[in-house]
Subunit: 618 residues, 2 copies
Amino acid sequence: MQRSIATVSVSGTLPEKLNAIAAAGFDGVEIFENDLLYYPGSPADVRQMCADLGLTITLFQPFRDFEGMSRQQFAANLERARRKFDLMQQLGCDKMLLCSNVSPQTSSSFDLQVSDLAEIAALAQQFAIEVGYEALAWGTHVNRFRDAWARVKAVDSPALGIVLDSFHILARGDRLGAMEDIPVEKITFLQLADAPLMKMDVLEWSRHFRCFPGQGELPLAEFARDLTAKGYRGPWSLEIFNDGFRAFPTAPTAKDGYRSLLWLEEQTRKRLPESDAPLFSSAPLARYDGVEFIEFAASEDDACALGAALRPLGFAQAGEHRSKKVELWRNGGANVIINHQPHSWADNFYQRHGVSLCAQAWRVKGAAQLLKRAQDYGYPLWQEAHGPDERELPAICAPDGSLIYLIESAGEEGWHADFHLQPTPNKDFTGIDHLALGLPEGSRDNWVMFFRSVFGFELDSEYSLPDPYGLVRSQVLHSPCRTIRLPLNMSQSRDTQIARSVASYQGSGLQHVAFAANDLLTTVTRLEAQGMQPLAVPANYYDDLLARYGESGGLLATLPALQALYERDDRGNAFLHIYTPPFREGRFFFEIVERKGDYQQYGASNAAVRLAAMQTHQ
Amino acid sequence: MQRSIATVSVSGTLPEKLNAIAAAGFDGVEIFENDLLYYPGSPADVRQMCADLGLTITLFQPFRDFEGMSRQQFAANLERARRKFDLMQQLGCDKMLLCSNVSPQTSSSFDLQVSDLAEIAALAQQFAIEVGYEALAWGTHVNRFRDAWARVKAVDSPALGIVLDSFHILARGDRLGAMEDIPVEKITFLQLADAPLMKMDVLEWSRHFRCFPGQGELPLAEFARDLTAKGYRGPWSLEIFNDGFRAFPTAPTAKDGYRSLLWLEEQTRKRLPESDAPLFSSAPLARYDGVEFIEFAASEDDACALGAALRPLGFAQAGEHRSKKVELWRNGGANVIINHQPHSWADNFYQRHGVSLCAQAWRVKGAAQLLKRAQDYGYPLWQEAHGPDERELPAICAPDGSLIYLIESAGEEGWHADFHLQPTPNKDFTGIDHLALGLPEGSRDNWVMFFRSVFGFELDSEYSLPDPYGLVRSQVLHSPCRTIRLPLNMSQSRDTQIARSVASYQGSGLQHVAFAANDLLTTVTRLEAQGMQPLAVPANYYDDLLARYGESGGLLATLPALQALYERDDRGNAFLHIYTPPFREGRFFFEIVERKGDYQQYGASNAAVRLAAMQTHQ
């Protein structure tokens, strides 16, 4: 399987791009013409640079608006094609992409289009080049792949085939299906791109918001399945126009691109278990049973302050590590570890990020499979140095360098053996409902690729929340049965609560932890009576709740005294929650939540209240 | 004329918003419901805060999706309305905005919609409140203002009128026209918003990309003219949903909002010179005759380096200031001043921004008018301390604190009197073709408001340029006859050449100066023979020029030796230009340009070559 990517998909100069692409594992590359034009070396130099890196130049795309123009313009276009074929020979590339004409001047005559395409095919044949004709979704007359195929079929030249681009096809709502009438050998090339579903002009969507397969919402797996079932075995090539990728460091983007092809191959293989196609696959996914503990990296002082912040939430110290300065705090099923061991891995994390979430531990069935998957997808593993009688906890490194520990089999508490334990009084929380991460703008796609490829997590649609100082974009990743939920929050503005939190972390980090309560009102009543200070909620909010939901059987009347928030979904399921004020000037905060019935959201209608209250608090 | 703005239009907490709105000059404010809900004080507190600031609460908008729902839901909606009317009485606001229903569940029955609207009108009347019904552009059944009017007319209640929102009307392509059938007293309220023309879903466009009148491309002036001609004399209120405004500091946004109303009033008055409407107007616009000089703030060292950078471009020192360390450099009609006078205004600018453009001088007919306009629009003027026999040059402060000097009457060179002059040898340049400014993301709108309101500059459409490390957005402001041209460049990515230049300036500043040559090839041939080093252009670029334009009579063959770039527009007008490598690691650079025929652009197709070459150079 040849894996290829267009140079336009990553940032940097041409040598930077090619080096990162080769290092990521690709063996093919589409040279985007501008990258060649801006490079201060000859086409032969580029050919040599690619050869030295083990990269085949799979495709070149030198111009547009070829067919159906005035005869004077067409003569110029053909002369231009001749020059570009000559250049391609120097470049050592034998496939040229020709997009359907988008000019308003192009003729609607099928016959003229066909005769123009026949001319370029005849010329290409002299240069031993194959032209692939692709229907752009916004082409003037040719904008669906079947339009392109009709013309390629009519030309009937060995030097003219069709290029299939998943974006142009899926964005128009088309599907490949069986394609009985298109011989597989007429498929010159395959370009792959995903995208989030967006209501906007398709050209703008395509030019700015494409992403790697798996990062978006188009049915890429079905697309690749149909092509593979058809017998297509040519290159799979990524062609991504994305404003974020253009601005993000080159190497991690190229790596994610490669992973996205592995992911797509694995999805395809799942759908075609009998196929002989040489598709990548890794170990099966694990089953997830929730978050067993979270771990903070802290200094001695921070550890003390964190304990003081947890105590009003009913947490008590449940254990001390046998050999390290590591404390276990607990309330019912919620475990929080505070690690302030000097010269440890956590200390190192602390030096870089300050007091922050350095690890989370998940209960899984199939830890070994996940470790294999992480390795296959090129993510590093981690094994902490440990004492002779202490447990080994295998871990996978997340994109920000924090760890995800894997604890095999639900209910096993073997990791407790490392601690001198003592009983704790409270059982308020059943566990950790969700961990919200604050991400620097631009790193969202790295995280999505990580959780989708290694763990098979699913992605909800994105939504926006208003902070007083800018909009916050939020998108939830969750395990298939939602036992692990990870909202990702991103802010373009630098003045929002989330942006300031991310900046203070020097990278990504925890924005908040939500502890799950079975009976929030009782728990919070007791905790507040014992001194817990929730984040203050404006009285106007409660008046509006009554206006929005009616009296709701008196429940709403109990909320103001507790500063609790409420949301109800369309099906009548409800969400109760409270927030704490932020720890250390906005680094992170805690939430207590209760999901009533089958409520599956995160109280988004209350997020803006919280964001404003955080500002007021400060 | 009551000037009002919705609190959603600016960033911050409610008190921050109200203070900035009052300080900007508004006398009315629409309270956006969320701002009230998130405020930890009562509605009566908000009423008092507004009263103390001299602000009338002009409108409240508490809920949506009212009419045509199931009868059970309608009963709940009516109860909700009752609660909100009660709240509005506490708030002291007697006008409520009701948007047309966007729910897919709402009934298409005209009669049901009318009877529901009649019920809320009857209820409103009990509270002495007037409801204004507005057609959202994406309303399920009511999405044009004439749809809304048909229902309001049918209800025929003194407590129900129509709200006109320029965005919803103009975005749908509708125009107000004469509106004979809508009595002016049935227009409850007027909301004003502009927007750039964008091909996208109208809801997304409305929620994220609105801007103040004059910053966008909708025909706001004709809209306001039609309403004023109709006799509307109620409040003009800005309701802007803009991601950038949400994240930008509160006070400058509020100020620009106020200016945008003044600008719109002035545009309206121009179109209705006979009207008795109390519309703002200022002095007439000036006529512009080009840039007389530009001035750099520099240290002693920088001054020396700048001179060394100008000399290869044929500049020579033409004068020294009589009393200050200020040098005049000149080549033909292009004048560059280097100001390194200690403890001066320029020195102060230098301390804040480093070596940078601190002023530009324009030749104008009507300087006094412009000074009056600047004052009327709330921009500060500046008058430098000067020696007893020296010229006074009046100046206006631009948004970054740099100055725009106004030199009355073309051809007058009175400012020369301050210099000991000496002749200079070269006449390569006719003047300054354009000044490109690099702006921090988010400050574009401040600059647009400044140049449009005070100077009457026009705005071309925005386009994107690819830098190897991110996209750059570019938009040109120019005087009506294009004698002064100011491309504005902005980058969201922090790694592009422009972003690094902006960051190194601690704010906005010059990205490049383009000197206009009459005969670029001759000039550049001579300058390069004398040692000028242009920015190196890749050979592949020239091969592509031949492919794109054909031989072009041999002209293209002369370009590679000079490292000159070429662009031709659709009408056959051409642009020749060269760039210098950047001064001081990317702070700014120089360009030499020749416009052939009626060429009016900036060589955008070559900008990416330049951006890549800059990266290669570094």
